[in-house]
């Protein structure tokens, strides 16, 4: 009994699955850190748990009470330690942040910079990091409530990541080695360039890497990784740096390996449409290249001007055309990846069908750079069809949007190429914050907007089909109003409204972004629940790929605030988990959701993932602290 108690101590301290929940027979596995909140607030009143406690035998009761007591003791200790650390931080930060704030008084992003000033001092002194979205004043609130143990904020928000001691720090020998391999120009230590490379697109995460490498070939990548593996130097593979979950920027001082210089198109087969290119090719450039040849990329996203194909493949990017062309798992025919120890895995097949052995490329697609760095991609591109039609429609309620989706899939069938939706808040945001955005339906404000695109080979036939579908939907009351684009300019202005939403959200202030896969019928219930929960604190904006049952839930507020965050997390994840949805439909886990994988995957699955990670990257140098939970120490 004592041994078990000790072992429990160890696991509980690390933050394992909540023992109480297991004891209560709960099916959802919640991390202990989250569960402290649950435990304090609901276990006490939970009839099931109460019932079990009462019904079970005396010894079991004692065990359970012991566990509860231990849980609470640990929590108290933890909070005491937090208090000590944060007071020290506050003292150090106060002088620095005043200076920084004065310097950054005129910059637009003053909210962000106050957060980043905090992290800069932290990482300088203590190897601790808090997500940059934390407002410094929050700590004061947390401290006062620490003793009351009602403090839910710390548990779910402060995901303190500790820099792994097994990683070495860069020294001048390393720099000279890299210079000897890559040349002077491609070893970047310039502060300004590093500042951009260290910050993610959302400006929520900022690392403190001192070195950016720009290899030009797979051999150079292989040499770099072999060296870093032997020296235990952590690395972050980076492409266009357009990721939304902090997966493309360093957490501490990892070396950034940016493959942007590897941007050659290697081969293109005009008959089959198979494109082979290097990982640093920007998506928009590939689209223009293919345009000349009469083909089109199977994926399309708002970030296409900056995102690179290597990153798209590593994160299994979805995008606007997934409903027509399917995911990258189906379109990528092969890839070449470099493993952590420098081994080059050449799986660059250009065959449509190849059933020889285990198809390992699927491991790398979506691995977010944690299993290997993708250096070349071979992708199947569909032919460019001449007739593209797009309609922007208005619906009065969510039920009509759903029915419209069903009708569209049936009546438009094979020519449907995109089905997106936005709600009234999203449209309002786009019109107010996006420059050059024009309301396609200025006559009145509607509750929901749906964007339907069709791509086919026969202009008049497609137009007829689309107009017939729209007419019947209008007569059926599914659509209250709509416009059909008459030329390509009008079509791009419709897309501008939808594709510009992430940009508009950033301009509107602080943005909490969630990307969830949920059953279509239930999707909007979450949005309405969040509106009730947040009340006047923040705006809930919803849009997404309705055709793929993918909701992009965004909460927009003037400033980052933990009150808001506490209302959102972990409620959103629990809600999604309850409906067996995915907490990250296409954005990936990155740093933001690294510890949240259990909401969507079972512990055994995650265990196997960890084993694979340890097999391919035993020293854990590839993109550490991301994707898999920190407690499992992958």
């Amino acid at each position: 009994m004592e041994e078990r108690g000790e072992k429990e101590d160890a696991t509980e301290r690390e933050g394992s699955l909540c023992q109480l929940c297991f004891a209560a027979g709960r099916r959802t596995t919640i991390m202990e850190t989250e569960c402290e909140r649950v435990m304090i607030n609901t276990h006490r009143f939970d009839p099931i748990l109460k019932g079990i406690v009462v019904i079970s035998t005396r010894s079991a009761m004692v065990v359970r009470f012991q566990r509860i007591r231990k849980c609470r003791q640990l929590q108290r200790e933890k909070l005491r330690m937090e208090k000590l650390r944060t007071t020290r931080h506050l003292l150090r930060r106060s002088s620095r942040s005043l200076l920084d704030r004065r310097l950054k008084l005129n910059s637009e992003n003053s909210i962000h910079s106050s957060g980043t000033a905090f992290t800069r001092t932290c990482t300088g002194h203590r190897n601790w990091i808090l997500p940059a979205c934390l407002h410094p004043s929050r700590d004061c609130r947390g401290l006062t409530k620490a003793n009351a143990m009602q403090n839910r904020y710390f548990g779910s928000v402060a995901e303190l990541v500790q820099r792994r001691p097994s990683f070495s720090t860069l020294n001048s020998d390393d720099i000279s080695f890299f210079k000897s391999i890559l040349g002077e120009k491609n070893v970047v230590q310039d502060e300004d360039v590093l500042a951009t490379a260290n910050t993610d697109w959302m400006r929520k995460y900022k690392g403190s890497s001192k070195l950016l490498l720009q290899p030009r070939s797979t051999e150079e990548v292989s040499e770099i990784l072999k060296y870093c593996n032997s020296r235990h130097l952590a690395v972050v593979p980076q492409g266009g740096n357009t990721g939304l979950v902090g997966g493309s920027v360093p957490v501490f001082d990892e070396v950034i390996i940016n493959v942007g210089s590897m941007n050659k198109i290697l081969a293109f087969d005009k008959v089959s449409g198979i494109l082979v290119c290097e990982a640093g090719c920007i998506l928009e450039n590939l689209i223009s290249f293919l345009d000349n040849e009469g083909f089109v990329m199977p994926l399309d996203l708002g970030a296409k001007g900056s995102c690179q194909i290597g990153g798209n493949v590593s994160t299994n990017a979805g995008g606007l055309r997934l409903v027509r062309y399917g995911s990258l798992h189906g379109n990528v025919l092969g890839l070449e990846a470099v493993l952590a120890n420098g081994d080059v895995l050449d799986m660059l097949g250009t065959l449509r069908k190849d059933n020889t052995g285990y198809d390992l490329k699927h491991l790398f697609i979506g691995s977010e750079g944690s299993l290997g760095i993708v250096t070349k991609v071979s992708i199947l591109t569909p032919p460019k069809l001449s007739s593209v039609n797009i309609a922007f429609l208005a619906c009065k309620d969510y039920f009509s949007c759903q029915k419209l989706l069903q009708e569209a899939k049936r009546k438009l069938g094979e020519i449907l190429s995109a089905f997106e939706f936005l709600d009234i808040e999203a449209m309002d945001l786009a019109l107010n914050h996006l420059e050059g955005a024009r309301n396609p339906l200025p006559a009145s404000i509607h509750n929901f907007y749906v964007l339907i695109e069709t791509t086919g080979s026969n202009e008049s036939y497609d137009k007829e089909k689309l107009e017939a579908f729209l007419l019947s939907s209008m007569e059926g009351g599914l659509i209250s109003d709509g416009v059909v684009a008459q030329d390509i300019n009008q079509a791009s202005s419709f897309w501008r409204v939808r594709e510009g939403l992430p940009e508009a959200l950033i301009k509107a202030g602080a943005n909490y972004k969630y990307d969830l896969s949920l059953p279509v019928e239930k999707m909007y219930n979450l949005v309405e629940d969040m509106r009730v929960r947040l009340g006047g604190l923040a705006r809930v904006v919803a849009y997404g790929h309705l055709g793929d049952a993918n909701l992009h839930l965004n909460i927009s507020a003037p400033k980052y605030d933990d009150k808001i965050l506490a209302q959102i997390e972990p409620y959103v994840y629990e809600w999604t988990s309850k409906h067996r949805g995915s907490i990250s439909a296409e954005h990936g886990l990155g740093l933001m959701k690294a510890n949240k994988i259990f909401y969507s995957k079972s512990p055994k699955t995650v265990q196997l993932m960890t084993s694979i990670k340890n097999l391919l990257d035993p020293n854990g140098i590839l993109n550490p602290y991301k994707v898999l939970p920190h407690s499992l120490n992958p």
Binding site: D291, N292, S386, S387, V388, A391, F392, L393, R438, P440, L441, A443, E459, S460, E467, L470, L471, M474, I479, D481, G482, V483, V484, A485, Q486, D487, I488, N489, Q490, S492
Partner: protein, 251 residues
């Protein structure tokens, strides 16, 4: 008062055009065609005038092969009341178009003829001026603002000229050609698209209007402009001087 708007079906503005291999013209075979952007602006202006009550009817006119009817339907979907299609198989040049328009004006008797300032496929910028000359009507070209006065039967037009903005007063009936900054054309809404299906489009042939399709112009060759050469990064001032002297011949 009736307003007549002339519309041209051209290659879509956003399409990347390619020259035909035999250099006789541009690839238009499998390429998206739509209404000339300036003609859209012209139609939008006509619709706004009608909506403000100063006109009773807007008639859209187009000339060319059978597919012009699609462009006319778009015009009807935007809000025009009637369409007129003049069948012509061969390519039409501005003077011929002007003669056809004159014939139509004599049939329809509009109070105002609005056109786009130029078509984006030939960039001629001639039709509006030629029609005004043939009809003997006043013309306000490159209009960036149009204000009608029904009582006095005049139109006040702000023109965008090289030196700035020029304001003219025209007696109606007049010819106005529209420039980019006049307005932003509306989208064709679904209800209007459905209504447009039942609006009439009348067909004419050039013979009925006493116009002979002949041209004094002949396209000899169409070639792409020379490709822009990539810039060169030089490493010293001496090299720069050398290049300026010997290659560019400017020093």
């Amino acid at each position: 008062m009736k307003i007549m708007v002339a519309i041209k079906r051209v290659v879509d503005y956003a399409v990347k055009i390619r020259v035909k291999p035999d250099k006789t013209g541009v690839e238009i075979h499998n390429v998206k065609m739509s209404m000339n952007p300036f003609c859209e602006i012209a139609l939008e202006e006509a619709l706004r005038i009608k909506e403000s009550g100063l006109a009773t009817e807007v008639v859209a006119v187009s000339m060319g092969p059978a597919q012009c009817v699609d462009t006319l339907r778009t015009g009807l979907a935007m809000g025009a009341d009637r369409g007129i299609h003049v069948e012509a198989a061969r390519e039409l040049y501005p003077l011929t178009v002007a003669r056809v328009l004159k014939g139509l004006v004599e049939v329809e008797n509009p109070g105002l003829l609005i056109l786009g300032k130029q078509a984006i496929d030939d960039d001629c910028n001639q039709t509006g001026q030629m029609v005004a000359g043939l009809l003997g009507w006043p013309q306000g070209t490159f209009a960036s603002k149009v204000v009608l006065d029904k009582e006095k039967q005049i139109a006040t037009v702000d023109r965008e000229v090289d030196g700035g903005l020029e304001t003219l007063c025209l007696d109606l009936p007049a010819v106005i050609t529209t420039d980019l900054r006049l307005n932003q054309p509306r989208y064709a809404t679904l209800p209007n698209i459905m209504k447009a299906k039942s609006k009439p489009i009348k067909k004419y042939t050039p013979e009925e209007l006493n116009v002979e399709i002949k041209s004094d112009l002949e396209v000899v060759q169409v070639t792409e402009p020379p490709k822009r050469k990539a810039g060169v990064i030089l490493s010293s001032v001496d090299e720069l001087i050398d290049k300026l002297k010997n290659e560019a011949h400017v020093v």
